[in-house]
Amino acid sequence: MTAPPDDCLARNEWICGAYLSTRRQILLDAVAQHLQLTVIAVLVGLVIAVPLAVLARRWGWAAGPVLAATTVLYTVPSLAMFSLLLPVYGLSAALVVAGLVLYSLTLLVRNILAGLRAVPEETRQAARGLGYGPVRLLLTVELPLAVPAAMAGLRIATVSAVSLVTVGAIVGFGGLGNLIYAGMNTYFKAQVLTASVLCVVIAVAADLLLLGAQWLITPWTRGARG
């Protein structure tokens, strides 16, 4: 009988190079699933949130119900959210995405609406004086000016989504959360720590990426400062 290999995997250490090299493909797949779930959820959230915020801005009476509905959605716990959607989507990746979309809505709608409301009345009047119709006013003046506030919401929503994806492990679509869940059941320390650290790395990287994107698409905010 051969003796069991005496490496960090056998000793079940927290930090383990052998884990990284032997489970490379598993880790890459998990990261890919994690990114996919996050990106789709945030994009869908954005596609729904922008019209909602624009409607709430256009008709004052709509703002109350829209904000109230998204706030109630935010109060529903993530585990419960996934379960409430279970009858609709079944055990699927769509379930996790739908849950994440509903979560990101609160943050996105709130911030985009705040951005739209912060557009100075004089600016709007000036654009109207130049003969801008409501659609052109919205697309070329109001929405661009709301970008910084919207981006702040987008960053929070993305970072939250990255960490919430892990809860999707309950239905088997949790990206790195799957590894954490499996690692918990088998007491696999290296797997839990590696997956957790990767989650944080993805969140921070996404945040920096969005910050960079904001810097690129809002050149007019840079001139004033320096």
Binding site: V72, T75, V76, P77, S78, L79, A80, M81, S83, L84, L86, P87, I156, V159, S160, V162, S163, L164, T166, V167, A169, I170, V171, G177, I180, Y181, G183, M184, Y187, K189, V192, L193, A195, S196, C199, V200, A203, V204, D207
Partner: protein, 223 residues
């Protein structure tokens, strides 16, 4: 619609309310867990935030901590703690993970609340010869209280919601009804559990809302 009806049946069945796995026991666990975590988080975060806010230092720390807090999945922290020696202490890992989760929003809100206090009022207080301690407790804190309490409310509601994650790692609370439902492939039970948690969170939100409305009236009544 059918699932909702079945969930309602599950909820109204008295057999599901009693016993160690019953709703009543899980609700009590959930309540105790969130209350304990909220108190510990407040004891840690509020003194630090109030002093930092009073001194006007550490703003970047308070805000960045909150952002980092959002990036770290509570579930990951919980599992990591479970695998450390702390894991042997029953609810210990859950409490630590939830406290770590609740401290950042508390800290940020309380700090911002203290900094939003009108500076001229603070200068006037200093001009009246108040000591730092008097200014903190008699001027800044009362004026910052609405924002500080808003932070406590956000933390409380999020704690109720997040405490369900403890069940993923074998802890107690209402989340157990949900995970048990998943294991039994019983959608009505899963939905029933989710509804219970959501209603609990909304009740907590409502209680804070009511307290916020009544507090000024009560304070006036005392005078």
């Amino acid at each position: 619609m059918n699932t909702l009806a079945e969930a309602w049946h599950w909820l109204t069945d008295p057999a599901h309310w009693s016993g160690d796995d019953g709703v009543r026991h899980r609700l009590a666990q959930h309540l105790v867990l969130t209350a304990v975590c909220l108190v510990i988080s407040c004891l840690i975060a509020l003194p630090v935030a109030l002093v930092l806010g009073h001194l006007g230092k550490g703003g970047a720390l308070a805000v960045n901590l909150s952002n980092i807090g959002r990036a770290v999945p509570t579930f990951a922290v919980l599992v990591l703690l479970l695998l450390t020696p702390l894991g042997g202490y029953g609810e210990g890992p859950t409490v630590v993970a939830l406290v770590l989760f609740a401290v950042p929003p508390l800290l940020t809100n309380a700090y911002v609340g203290m900094r939003e206090v009108d500076r001229s009022v603070v200068r006037a207080a200093r001009g009246m010869g108040m000591t730092g301690r008097q200014m903190l407790f008699q001027v800044e804190l009362p004026l910052a209280l609405p924002l500080v309490m808003n932070g406590v409310r956000i933390a409380a509601v999020q704690l109720v919601a997040t405490a369900t994650i403890a069940a993923l790692a074998g802890g107690g609370g209402l989340g157990r009804i949900i995970t048990a439902g998943f294991n039994l492939a019983s959608t009505p039970q899963v939905v029933a559990g989710a509804v219970l948690v959501a209603v609990f969170a909304l009740i907590v939100e409502g209680l804070f809302e009511t307290a916020e409305r009544l507090a000024p009236r009560l304070a006036r009544g005392r005078r």
